[in-house]
């Protein structure tokens, strides 16, 4: 390989814009075109940051998710609420009237000696 620093030290910087060689550029683009779509790196980045920060960043499911599962949380909340309402509706008729409690003070009986 040619060392750019060594060569450029002996070469005056050019102020003229280098003419692009269309044949070369076309060849470059053909050789380095990307056929496959780029990978999604977000999950990997979040994992690395979480590990290296010892859980300080990206520690919860909300921040790491690309699209937080709002529907899951919403459906779960509504389901829990429905269960509570149904339970109340089923159990409330079973509740009878309160049992009266005698809370009058009973006189103390002293045992004679």
């Amino acid at each position: 390989m040619t060392d750019p620093g060594q060569d450029e030290a002996n070469e005056a910087p050019s102020s003229a814009t280098p003419e692009p060689d269309e044949s070369l550029r076309s060849m470059l683009r053909g050789a380095l075109r990307e056929e496959e779509p780029p990978p999604n790196v977000l999950a990997g980045v979040q994992k690395r940051i979480r590990e290296r920060s010892k859980g300080k960043f990206y520690a919860d499911g909300w921040s790491t998710a690309k699209h937080p599962p709002l529907n899951t949380y919403l459906v779960t909340s509504l389901l829990m609420l429905a269960i509570l309402v149904i339970s109340y509706a089923l159990l409330s008729p079973l509740v009878g009237s309160p049992v009266p409690v005698r809370n009058q003070p009973v006189p103390v009986q002293l045992i004679p000696r």
């Binding site: 005056a12 076309s26 050789a31």
Partner: protein
Amino acid sequence: MADRRDVAAHPVYLAGGVADSDEQSERKFIERLARRDERAFNELVELYEARVFRLLLRMLGRRDEAEDMAQEVFVQIFKAVGTFRGDSKLSTWIYRVSVNLCKNRMKYLARRHSEGEDELEPVAERAALNEAKGVTFGDVAQPDRMVEGYQIERVVQQCIAELDPDFREVLILRDLEDLSYEELSEITGLADGTVKSRLHRARSMLKANVERKMGEKIR
């Protein structure tokens, strides 16, 4: 530039209000990043991951290395975004981080002799150079032409891989990423004239190397 258009169209940049200019939106976005706003960082990764990966793949020539490096680039950006002073565009800064990390990685790989290079077919079996221009698998109907086009691409890929990382860097940033000379200067830290002369030399070396391997002139 495509970069500016992408950024302006992104919801992060519109969050500040339609009346805000791109620069104001970018400044607000950078402030969110500096505050370690994880959602803002997610948006940043989604916005730049394709471009960063493509650049790294062109520099490194290996998909697995490029993917690993792309993740590392964004981790370093997350760590260092607080030091970004806004002297250049955010995209230029991201390119600079990518290029610097990539060059370090290339030196490391060169030391460990882990750059995988496949043996090329004999020169006599290769096709004419002008057939390499725009030849894709989809365009070629005959299998023999497809093989020829593939071989030429492999020669060009090998010649790029043989270029010094400093030459490869300017060639890819200018001729493939279509960055301006000003951006190249900011990314490489070189004077404008030095960038131009380095680019000229990179093109000359690549052209000479391809012609030598193929045994004919590029038309």
